[in-house]
Point group: C2
Chain length 359, copies 2
């Protein structure tokens, strides 16, 4: 997939997807991609691999890392599935909401303590079910509910009040901000912060740093398997990253939901990679080291990050599937068939991500 | 709004909208625009004003023109509101579906003769109502139902079978294709045809030709008002275009629906302009001649056409509202407020369409 040749790549993104209707071009989409290894070396790029990117929910594993490092998991008895939900943008299915309630009970808090609002679910099936019974979603139904309960746990674990846990100056968020910058190999002021849809601070940093984060998750999983079962020889950071990798890949159905891209992707690769979407079309993947990643020039695990310049998520998934095509076919998302209301095929999405070798 | 200055405009579109979250750029969008007058002169442009564009439903007035010119309106007793629905991408509200049924009765046809399928409605309120009563939409609910009944009428008016009326080789579609090219001042082979979401042929032509079509609609309305009430001095083409203009502007609630952009826009301008959206973010407007259009350099009416390169309709409406800002404020669509699930303002959409004078 990755050739050393000239391309239409550039600072404003490279032309990565073209939607055809008949022989006419309907829409075009630009994208950026960065492929790094566990050492943080940029191996391949498309568009601007340093594009300052709001990673949104793709940054959840880094926020979860800050929670893990407070000791909150041990203190409140969270299991691996709970940790997966902390990293999730879930579909508000019953299993997600029910687990959120159980996690709230573990931290001796309730829904009114959560500072996210309800919203229409990411799953259309759930949306239809809610409408049928006139259900008004609350905070436990937020696709970010696991992250928020994690924050309630983290606040208590560091001895801070849970009140205002979502505000940028709260002691927990100060800690989260440092951890996110640190794991992305950036100084604290190397990350810009904004407010997310769920009301927590959300980071923006160069796209290759998102790829680094995910390379580190996969590399930590490799390191854990290579070391003693007790993982006594691993640093606490590596152990925490490996724990997050294992949680997300062991419970992919909790990270997203029925039929969703992240869930299908991680199930297809069966532990071989971790993937997470962010709103407005960012995506990050960590691939465990193999003969194939070595052939791509990686030392250790591989990290891939993608951002579609216009925020189109359907296009994002097609691009990610294209990037992964040589690892394993993901036909469902790779070429979304375009059919009209009578089932007639009317067009096709052409995806060609012009990755350019960097070294 | 339109200054003679350099801009970031170019063949792949000009940067026309930037979505900020906090101080970080979330997404950017490129767009094209063409502003012409009734003589077809290109007055202002943004991006590539000749971009080959699938106008989709923005071309409906041209398809309706072909129907009007068959004499079908007189033959089947269609009124002005029926003609408005032929030009509509409606919200599948009761009034739209009921009128479709009445129009079907007028042409002695029924729903089974329609070659469009049902689909989730463009209105979320209607969607929720359908889900609540497990309603499965049929062809009469298609947002293009009026156009399809118009085609059933047109086929009969020219003495053709109604069977297969939607196929490119059907005598009616051959006629529609010629009329669309002709009213856009193009030879028949100057238009590329594909299949639309509703299963009818859909044209692609340079963006400035879409602007011409709408300038002609507004210019015909001007000509009708200037002539005798009997419009005896007008050409049949001009009379037909004026009839379409009057239908769409007299019944804007039938052209789209409650709260929809086209409806709100035409209601706000109270007959002063006609506007129509096309799927995947094209828009066209015809503005009747005034001191203001003359100041912009137009001879007669003004035509405006816009295409967002990535097909984002929310961005399209913001851009169109920006273009019209000096004519009348349309705050609702102009700057969509971006708030999260707790109502906190998290960002803003910055729209700046770099129109460049062409003459």
């Amino acid at each position: 997939m990755m050739k050393r040749e000239a391309s239409s790549t550039g600072p404003e993104g490279a032309l990565a997807a073209t939607l055809y209707r008949g022989d006419s071009i309907e829409n075009t989409h630009r994208a950026h991609a960065a492929v790094v290894d566990a050492d943080g070396r940029l191996l391949y790029a498309c568009g601007n691999p340093l594009r300052q990117t709001l990673a949104r929910s793709a940054a959840k594993p880094a926020q979860a890392l800050a929670i893990v490092e407070t000791g909150a998991l041990e203190r409140f008895g969270f299991d691996e599935a709970d940790l997966a939900l902390m990293c999730a943008s879930h579909s508000s299915e019953e299993r997600h909401i029910e687990r959120t309630r159980q996690m709230l009970a573990k931290v001796h808090a309730n829904e009114a303590d959560m500072r996210c609002g309800g919203h229409p679910p990411l799953s259309d099936a759930v949306y239809r079910a809610w409408i049928r019974r006139d259900f008004v979603p609350g905070a436990v139904c937020s696709n970010c509910s696991g992250k928020h309960v994690g924050m309630l746990a983290g606040a208590q674990a560091i001895g801070a009040a849970i009140r205002d846990y979502q505000l940028p100056d709260h002691p927990l968020q100060v800690r989260v901000k440092h951890t996110v910058a640190d794991v992305c190999d950036l100084p604290d002021d190397g990350v810009q912060w904004a407010i997310d849809g769920c009301n927590l601070p959300t980071p923006a940093f160069p796209l290759d740093r998102l790829a680094r984060l995910f390379a580190k998750l996969a590399d930590a999983a490799d390191a854990t398997d290579a070391s003693d079962l007790a993982t006594a020889s691993l640093s606490p950071r590596t152990a925490a990253l490996a724990r997050i990798y294992r949680a997300m890949t062991s419970y992919p159905e909790l990270v997203a939901g029925e039929g969703r891209f992240c869930t299908v992707l991680m199930q297809a690769f069966a532990g071989g990679l971790v993937g997470k979407v962010g709103a407005d079309a960012s995506y990050a993947i960590g691939v465990r080291a193999s003969a194939q990643t070595a052939r791509l020039g990686a030392r250790g695990a591989l990290g891939i990050a993608v951002k579609v310049e216009d925020g189109n998520t359907t296009v994002l998934y097609a691009i990610v599937a294209e990037l992964l095509a040589q690892l394993e076919p993901l036909e469902t998302f790779r070429v979304p068939p375009m059919r009209n209301t009578m089932g007639i095929e009317t067009g096709r999405l052409s995806v060609a991500v012009p990755l350019v070798a960097q070294q």
